[in-house]
């Protein structure tokens, strides 16, 4: 049975990037932006499910105009169409307002399930998809590493990883599902995929299209706000312990016990 699957994606700096901060903001110049890695796992699972069962994958990305390039990557690996929520009036909020915006978008799209990353690797909130589930009165399963659709086609069995343990969860569909690393290897776009992506539709939605009052979201609607940003504190220089393995190990054990007092 075919499935309409929506994948919530985010544009983030590549994890190999060094983050530089100037005037309480991340310097974006020269940063390499990519699809959020956890969202990418979700996208891969969505593509596999549609390959096996038929249906359609719709990528939804909330972010600035520059994110069009990132959306094209999702289309290039196989998403059928994309919706770009792009409106400066909606930007600058917190996890709560982001969830409101995405929930408003999802009300306009028919779906059987929604995939997202368990967190985005920039702000590490780990809140948005779960909040979306609550706002839409849907169940959610977080941090999924194995997923299969139930025999009835209307439920799913998920293995998920949390706090060093693994659980099997069963959910009724539609549901909000978040992907954890381990869900599967992601694919790279083929040349054909990249060419094809240029012809696939990207629809822009702004606050008006979503029927959202901008003052209820973005900077004004946010309940928590970032008031400063700084690099992490530098660590003081350490010491290299000389000697052969046995000597150095003995000295290290002594230092850890007597100087650092951690063992």
């Amino acid at each position: 049975m075919p499935y309409n699957i929506v994948v919530l994606l985010k544009r983030v700096p590549d994890t190999e990037s060094k983050i530089t901060i100037r005037d309480n903001a991340v310097v974006t110049e020269g940063l390499n932006f990519v699809l959020d890695p956890y969202g990418e796992y979700g996208l891969e699972k969505a593509l596999q499910l549609v390959e096996q069962n038929g249906g359609k994958v719709t990528a939804v990305l909330f972010g600035p105009e520059e994110a069009k390039e990132t959306i094209r990557k999702a289309l290039a690996v196989g998403a059928d169409e994309a919706i770009h929520i792009v409106d400066p009036a909606l930007e600058g909020g917190d996890a709560g307002t982001t969830a409101q915006v995405l929930a408003a978008a999802l009300k306009k799209i028919p779906f059987d399930m929604v995939w997202a990353g368990k967190q985005a690797v920039d702000e590490d909130n780990a809140q948005v998809p779960i909040r979306v589930a609550e706002l839409l009165d849907l169940p959610h399963v977080n941090s999924i590493i194995e997923f299969e659709i139930g025999a009835d086609g209307k439920s799913a069995r998920c293995v998920r990883e949390v706090d060093g343990e693994r659980d099997v969860m069963v959910t009724i569909l539609p549901a909000i599902l978040t992907a954890q690393q381990g869900l599967g290897e992601v694919r790279y776009p083929s040349l054909k995929g990249i060419m094809g992506a240029k012809k696939k539709p990207i629809t822009d939605w702004n606050a008006a299209a979503l029927g959202i009052d901008p003052s209820s979201v973005g900077k004004q609607g946010a309940r928590v706000e970032i008031i400063g940003l700084e690099p992490p504190p530098a660590r003081p220089p350490g010491k290299i312990i000389p000697g052969d393995a046995a000597t150095a190990a003995k000295e290290l054990a002594r230092l850890l016990r007597e100087e650092a007092k951690v063992i």
Partner: protein
């Protein structure tokens, strides 16, 4: 709304998790500054023992939802139960542990109540009457200072940052909150054994990690032996995970887990930016690497330039001698 701080405890079969005691400590200063009290919340099935344990940590009161419907984890049911407690307690601040459980349940509960939530904070204080938080973002490559615009608000606090309360206090009163739970649409039906994770990485006070230098799956043996001797957990770099030598659940880094143990030992890990992001807030860092120019030495407190296959077993012996 009161001026109280409510902490949401979490437990496992043996009792409350360590992070619950850390939350009580974190809440005490906030409550003093707000002129309120610290109260605790416990939710689950047959969690009377957890409630009694929490009641002796110095909190003024413990709210409990003890309900058969919470036997197996179900996000909707847990959020409903907590929302009932929060409505009854009417706190200014709710603190969760930023464990996997705490992050998940806090997000669903915050959305249910329409509250703001700051995730995985390493510091929380009251400044000019407002709650100001510190939270590492980009897995620690940047530190954000965050302000809650108003109360009430929720916060999840990173484990291992604040010391746990230790002294036992006289037992505080325990109030049962009755709830009617709807049948949840998503729930846990079974636990799967995960042989390798003897100690939860997120809460471990000591982590020993292996990287490309362990050279293969069997190379993790000396890493595991040292971790066992120290009572710590085993971590890994992305290179070791990508090579298929160890399960991804051990990965430390920007994709993977962020940890802040009191002791982090990196063996055969060069120190790629994305790995450093996940562990550089550890209290003490030890690096063992053959390459004296490896970037990991720049952030290590103690370094040994040498072969991990010689250094780690020697260190394991020394640790066992120290007892």
């Amino acid at each position: 709304m009161s001026n109280n701080v409510l902490i949401v405890a979490e437990g496992k079969a043996e009792g409350l998790r360590k992070v619950s005691f850390e939350l009580v400590n974190a809440a005490q200063q906030l409550a003093r500054d707000l002129g309120g009290a610290v109260e605790g919340a416990v939710v689950g099935n047959q969690v009377g023992a957890w409630a009694e344990q929490l009641a002796k940590t110095g909190v003024a009161k413990v709210y409990v939802v003890d309900n058969a419907g919470l036997e197996n984890f179900a996000p909707e049911s847990y959020a409903s139960a907590l929302a009932e407690i929060i409505r009854a307690a009417a706190p200014a601040i709710v603190l969760f542990g930023a464990s996997g459980w705490g992050k998940e349940v806090s997000a669903r509960t915050a959305a249910k109540l329409g509250w703001g939530l700051a995730t995985d904070c390493t510091d929380a204080k009251i400044e000019n009457g407002a709650l100001v938080l510190t939270r590492p973002i980009y897995a620690g490559k940047a530190i954000a200072h965050v302000r809650a615009k108003s109360f009430p608000v929720m916060v999840s606090v990173r484990p291992n940052i604040v010391p746990p309360v230790e002294a036992e206090s006289p037992a505080a009163p325990i109030e049962q909150i009755a709830v009617t739970l709807k049948e949840p649409r998503a729930r846990v039906v079974e636990k799967v054994e995960n042989a390798k994770s003897k100690v939860d990485l997120g809460e471990a006070s000591i982590v020993v990690s292996g990287g490309r230098g362990v050279k293969g799956p069997e190379g993790f043996a000396p890493v595991e032996e040292l971790a066992d001797a120290l009572g710590g957990a085993v971590g890994a770099s992305r290179a070791a995970v990508d090579a298929g030598w160890i399960d991804y659940t051990h990965q430390i880094g920007q994709t993977g887990k962020t940890v802040a143990p009191k002791l982090y030992i990196a063996a055969g890990i060069s120190g790629a930016i994305q790995h450093l992001a996940g562990m550089s807030s550890s209290k003490v860092i030890v690096a063992v690497n053959k390459d004296p120019d490896a970037p990991i030495f720049k952030i290590a407190d103690y370094g040994i330039v040498g072969d991990l296959f010689q250094v780690l077993p020697a260190l394991t012996q020394e640790i066992k001698k120290l007892g």
